[in-house]
């Protein structure tokens, strides 16, 4: 019997106009893999009912807060309650758009990453900033395409972010440090909005309210670009994204990029594959900068743009361990949607095989007893 896969539709149009829908592609290729697609609408009152009879569930959800927070709950529930594999996995959803969790995971896993500090109280944050070297990078837990990433150049600027994050909380780092008059003006505007029945610091469908922490990261100078390595199973695709002139950030996949494989260092690929191996999900994009000549992880992303992968002239195939295994260059373009689907199917088949083994063992146990 073929596999039945519950798939939640997704569609996004990237800033460069590219239409992207993992679900449409999966639905198109599923029959060739002998899989039947069960379309799901997770926003109906009973989404579990349509997923319950399937062998796996795929939801390539956007980074926006509203679907993401929901997806995390639903996917965790489906894995725990129904016991079927999901894409992304429950584990991956917990690191998705949560840089604090990523930092703690990378630290625990001993994976080199940019020196980071999380302060959980205003006092701890102020104490840290009193003795910190400036500039450093301030980040929110959520935010993609370099949003919510700022450089704090002085103690005074750092205080501004502390006041924001331990005061009303923020949905984005939109406001920059400013002089007294400008800050007063902002404040007056917020009061006026409040008087009119609006809510100046409320979360929205795009962004959660970030509150009660200060997350800082070392500023790594002299990086003209970051390397984004997208790992799907044991395949690694890589692209360089260049820093915007006059800024220290790239613009994610909206800025200048280069797909030349010769410019990618093997150490970067191995580091990304190491991270992916630790996480164990079908796919992850690992953003890498360099401290001197050593690669360090900056951030993990799950919802990379599929067209970036497709433009890669080939990929590296890992055989063996990420640290010592062989990396073979495989020329030719690959669609991320296809590679993710293949990887997911493998996992579903393994899960089904494990289930069959378990039920066989249970029958044998009952017969013996």
């Amino acid at each position: 019997m073929g596999l039945r896969l519950a798939i939640q539709p997704d569609v996004v149009v990237h800033p460069n106009g590219t239409h992207q829908s993992f679900s449409e592609r999966w639905a198109a290729i599923a029959p060739s893999y002998g899989a039947e697609v069960v379309p799901v609408d997770v926003f109906t009152p009973d989404p579990i009912a349509s997923i319950a009879d399937c062998d796996g569930f795929l939801w390539r959800c956007a980074s926006s807060a509203h679907p993401r927070v929901y997806a995390r709950r639903l996917i965790n529930a489906v894995e725990a309650g129904l016991g079927i594999p999901c894409f992304p996995s429950a584990r991956a959803t917990c690191y998705y758009e949560d840089k604090l969790a990523q930092h703690q995971f990378l630290t625990a896993a001993g994976i080199p990453h940019a020196g980071s500090r999380i302060c959980w109280s205003r006092e701890a944050a102020e104490r840290y900033c009193d003795g910190a070297d400036f500039p450093f990078v301030v980040k929110l837990a959520g935010g993609h395409q370099s949003r919510n990433v700022r450089l704090a150049r002085s103690r005074k600027e750092a205080q501004f972010y502390i006041d924001e994050l331990f005061g009303h909380g923020v949905t984005a780092l939109n406001y920059r440090p400013a002089g007294t008059w400008r800050r007063l003006l902002r404040h007056a505007r917020a009061v006026a909005e409040c008087g009119r029945g609006r809510y100046p610091h409320a979360p929205n469908s795009e962004a959660e309210l970030e509150f009660g922490y200060l997350y800082t990261q070392e500023f790594l100078r002299n990086n003209r670009y970051e390397v984004s390595v997208i790992v799907i199973g044991n395949r690694a695709f890589a692209v360089r994204r260049f820093v915007v002139p006059g800024d220290f950030r790239t613009r994610g996949s909206s800025g200048r990029m280069d797909w030349d494989p010769q410019a990618i260092r093997e150490a970067d690929l191995r580091l990304a594959l190491l991270v992916a191996g630790h996480l164990g999900d079908c796919t992850i994009a690992v953003d890498i900068l360099h401290r001197g000549s050593d690669p360090v992880v900056i951030e993990l992303t799950l919802n990379y743009a599929s067209w970036v992968v497709e433009k890669c002239p080939g990929h590296w195939l890992l055989k063996g361990d990420p640290t010592t295994g062989t990396l073979t260059w495989v020329p030719g373009q690959t669609r991320a949607e296809d590679a993710v689907f293949e990887e997911f199917l493998t996992r579903v088949r393994h899960a089904k095989a494990d289930e069959a083994l378990d039920s066989g063992a249970e029958i044998a146990r009952r017969q013996t007893s």
Binding site: A77, C94, F105, R117, C194, G197
Partner: protein, 359 residues
């Protein structure tokens, strides 16, 4: 080599004056069992390095938002990054203080629950409220001891909360609907607070902001209280909690009956079904009735230890939750001890420590 367990300190004093510290008791048990307990400050930047030098990590954290959000991230990182055993582990804790996650999980696992409706879009929530049967129970995902659970009597009241949930969000369901002049007064008061630098609707260390959903649950009349079954390893502790006076909620009422006889066996078996399917290290399962049938309303991890300790005994299930036999084991058990002993027994090399201590 001696087993080393990193332990984060915890301490609270309950409303009834009972002081509770799981960590204090764990430190004592560790000493008795020849285990090295290493105190850890989870808020220190060196916490992970300290834990990495140990064989396991335990942190009984509170439901308050600030602690919980940090604890869940840190414990997950230790479990998945360092690959060390932790209490509570991800399987036990991912849905802690998340009634929405719990509902989806119970539903997926085929566990009977009160009928519930979760809306992620305002239009759908409004439509539901216009045609709903009243009263129903409105819940936030977070909240303990019956906070953030309200009985909604009519569409006007329901739509007031829909508006809050899809505009500014709320940290609690404290303020209900009011007359237009009172609402205007509230707004003025909020503007005044904001003028003095305090955002009145912001989150706090206790509560994160709840936003962008509407969670309604059927009201089940005729329940004078609920049954709390606490699962720890292969033990089930049970007691009944009675509703507060003139209220429909029992959690946190403090009106408890520990007598095992009136506890419905089907409630115990239902709790075991939850345990079999979700396999937590420990879990409180709150059960009420729909007609004669038990249904699960909520799962809890931060149960008060004194309420479990005062149980005159516990049940051990032999076999399947549907047909297996329930053995009553008399005697009081400290949940801290049960959790610690089970946890240590699962650490490689830990079983001997427990065995020697028990001997």
């Amino acid at each position: 080599m001696t087993l080393k367990i990193a332990i984060q300190a915890d301490e609270i004093t309950h409303h009834n004056g009972e002081r509770q510290s799981y960590s204090d008791r764990w430190f004592r048990l560790a000493r008795e069992q020849g285990i090295t307990a290493v105190p850890v400050d989870a808020f220190d930047e060196r916490a992970i390095a300290q834990i990495a030098a140990c064989d396991a990590f335990m942190w009984r954290y509170d439901p308050a938002a600030h602690l919980r959000l940090h604890a869940q991230r840190l414990l997950r990182a230790v479990e998945e990054g360092l690959r060390l055993p932790v209490f509570p582990n991800v399987r036990s804790a991912w849905h802690f203080e998340d009634k929405i996650g719990q509902y989806y999980c119970l539903k997926a696992a085929g566990i009977p629950t009160p009928e519930s409706w979760i809306f992620w879009k305002r239009d759908q929530a409004v439509e539901f409220c216009r045609h709903a049967t009243y009263p129903f129970v409105l819940k936030l995902a977070t909240g303990y001891q019956a906070s953030n659970v309200r009985l909604i009597h009519d569409a006007g009241e329901a739509l007031y909360y829909v508006d809050l949930m899809f505009t500014r969000g709320v940290t609690g369901l404290g303020w209900g609907p009011a007359s237009a002049p009172r609402l205007a007064l509230r707004r003025l008061h909020a503007a005044e607070q904001l003028a003095f630098g305090h955002y009145p609707w912001g989150p706090s260390e206790q509560s994160e902001l709840q936003f962008g959903y509407f969670f309604a649950q059927e009201f089940l009349p005729g329940n004078g209280g609920d049954t709390r079954i606490t699962l720890i390893g292969d033990r089930a502790f049970g007691f009944r909690r009675f509703n507060r006076p003139n209220d429909f909620r029992a959690s946190g009422s403090g009106r408890i009956d520990w007598a095992p006889e009136p506890i419905d066996e089907r409630a115990i078996r239902l709790a075991w079904e939850v345990g079999d399917k979700l396999r937590p290290q420990a879990m409180g399962v709150d059960i009420i009735r729909r007609g004669a049938d038990p249904v699960v309303v909520e799962l809890n991890l931060a149960f008060a230890s004194w309420a479990v300790r005062d149980c005159p005994g516990h049940w051990v299930l032999h076999g399947d939750h549907r047909t297996g036999t329930l053995e009553w084991v008399p005697g009081s058990v400290h949940p801290e001890d049960a959790i610690f002993n089970d946890f240590v027994a699962q650490i490689p090399g830990g079983r001997d420590s427990v065995r020697q201590a028990v001997a």
